[in-house]
Symmetry: C2
Subunit: 319 residues, 2 copies
């Protein structure tokens, strides 16, 4: 296997320019790459330009834009043209197995053994997507978190036919461009971060179902409390620090028995969302939103997220 040296890469390909792909394109451009993009939808190029125009000042504010970078992608007329123009390609096509398989076959027909295809898939399994391709070894999942141009996390996982060395390469590549890549060792539905989120939401949903608190109060139970620490450390480190000077060992000895007791009462695996519960969720979120429209909430989220990312950059972890 040969893989491009990170410093030799000047152009990146982007296939699929929806919300995720366009955000990737903006980020790659900000990092100084030429970016060649293709999408099958009508009118995609104008939407891409709009998205990049929105993302660019955010990227500038975060200090992500390198000298000489320009918000101008190159438009391709086909996936083959992207494959011809770039060795490393981030694929963010529709989350549909048939669509991905058809696209991969098209790409596979014109790929070289040096190409690297990084898939943004959140819900599909690489082993199924890559099966039967001549260049199956060159496909690996690089799943970002929305929006990719702002959120550092990228989950890297290979399929059954992925070259193990390519997984290492992908981890290194994302770190090289300023992302925080993590290695997922197995293919499971939802990878890791979304499963963790789903576990949290399951308990939040059960709290509503059980009448423990309102939607707004359940949300505040995270955002005004433990959520503040979850922007700094993950759940293992937070509980290690809850163990004081004895760390995780102390936590396991002294605090975990209480947690086991809670877990035993948290025993509903797949809660049914009845019409009544759905109504309570929808009404509860509306009540929490108050006078804010969805546009207001999105603007608030993006503005506060940007401020938070700047703060974390200016108050860095010692690691």
């Amino acid at each position: 296997m040969t893989t491009p040296k990170f410093d030799d890469i000047t152009t990146l390909g982007v296939i699929g320019a929806g919300t995720i792909g366009a955000s990737w394109a903006a980020y790659f451009l900000a990092r100084g790459y030429q970016v060649i993009v293709w999408d099958p939808a009508a009118g995609w190029a104008n939407r891409l330009d709009d998205m990049i125009a929105t993302a660019w000042p955010q990227l500038e504010e975060l200090g992500v834009v390198v000298a000489g970078a320009a918000p101008r992608p190159v438009r391709a007329a086909s996936p083959e043209e992207v494959v011809a123009g770039a060795t490393v390609i981030q694929e963010s096509a529709l989350e549909n197995m048939a669509v991905k398989r058809a696209l991969y076959a098209q790409m596979d027909a014109v790929m070289t053994p040096d190409h690297v295809i990084l898939s943004s898939t959140s819900g599909l399994i690489m082993s199924e997507m890559q099966a039967g391709l001549s260049h199956a070894a060159r496909f690996v999942v690089g799943h970002p978190f929305n929006p990719p141009h702002l959120i550092p996390l990228v989950e890297v996982v290979g399929g059954a036919d992925t070259d193990p060395a390519l997984i290492d390469w992908a981890l290194g590549f994302y770190d090289h461009i300023g992302k925080h890549a993590i290695r997922i060792n197995k293919e499971v539905p939802g990878h890791l971060a979304n499963r963790l989120q789903a576990a949290l939401w399951r308990e939040a949903l059960l709290a509503l179902k059980d009448g423990l608190a309102s939607v707004a109060d359940i949300d505040a139970a995270i955002a005004k409390g433990p959520g503040l620490r979850l922007a700094l450390f993950g759940p293992h480190m937070i509980f290690a620090l809850a163990g004081g000077k004895g760390g995780m060992a102390h936590f396991l000895d002294h605090l975990v028995p209480g947690i086991h007791a809670w877990w035993r009462t948290m025993d509903e695996i797949d809660p049914e969302i009845t019409p009544d519960l759905a109504r309570a969720l929808i009404d509860g979120v509306a009540d929490e939103a108050g006078a804010r429209t969805i546009d207001d909430l999105e603007a608030e989220r993006d503005q506060r997220l940007l401020a938070l990312l700047k703060t974390l950059r200016d108050t860095p972890s010692a690691r």
Copy 2:
């Protein structure tokens, strides 16, 4: 029932001056109250002064300290003296039912019908703590999140004998002093926020057990991704915003089927922490910490948390 008018309160009592009680004392002082404190441990007053000295500059940096406030608590010689000196008392005694019951009996003997006892208990049930007291109706849980002088969240829940009007009063009181109080409608072990945290950690632990990723990578899956949003919004609102312009209704129709599929594979209720898993946790956290000692990590957490709280204050939610 009579309850003190918020604006008439000039003195607050603090019983128990450990980590939680001392942090409460610092916060109450910063808000301009006289604070009368008692703790049963030897040497408590000096430790309290040290804790307040550490917290005070943080509270000043956050702009929480009101004009005329001074970091000087009044020391009491007994719980009875606190009850004599303050009508509203935050109790943060040892998390032990026998200890709390004995203390409550002592207080009960000298309380008036106007007194309000707010308990910081994280793990005990108020109905059991208050049972049989003459002034049982005047006891309510006001559970803070550590450290109380920095984290806004306070969970309010009454016991079987608590006056329902006192629950409303406690919610109003905490909001009045600048905290974010939420109403918990039922007594369950761990209240709400800690149960939500436990649900998240359960899945994080299972990811380690199943070999899905390393401790450091599991932690990054939160802190470098969804954790950044959890400092801004709770899980319900985050998923409502994931529904785009259609909000929670769209989310329920289009994205929840996938989440149900994940949930069905997240079916371990009470994972056993075997010696091997405990070792993997301890080693994994040490690896994640790298060269950082626990003191370093605590300092990093507190410094970054303070910066984050300032950012959220300066970039407020429209609600």
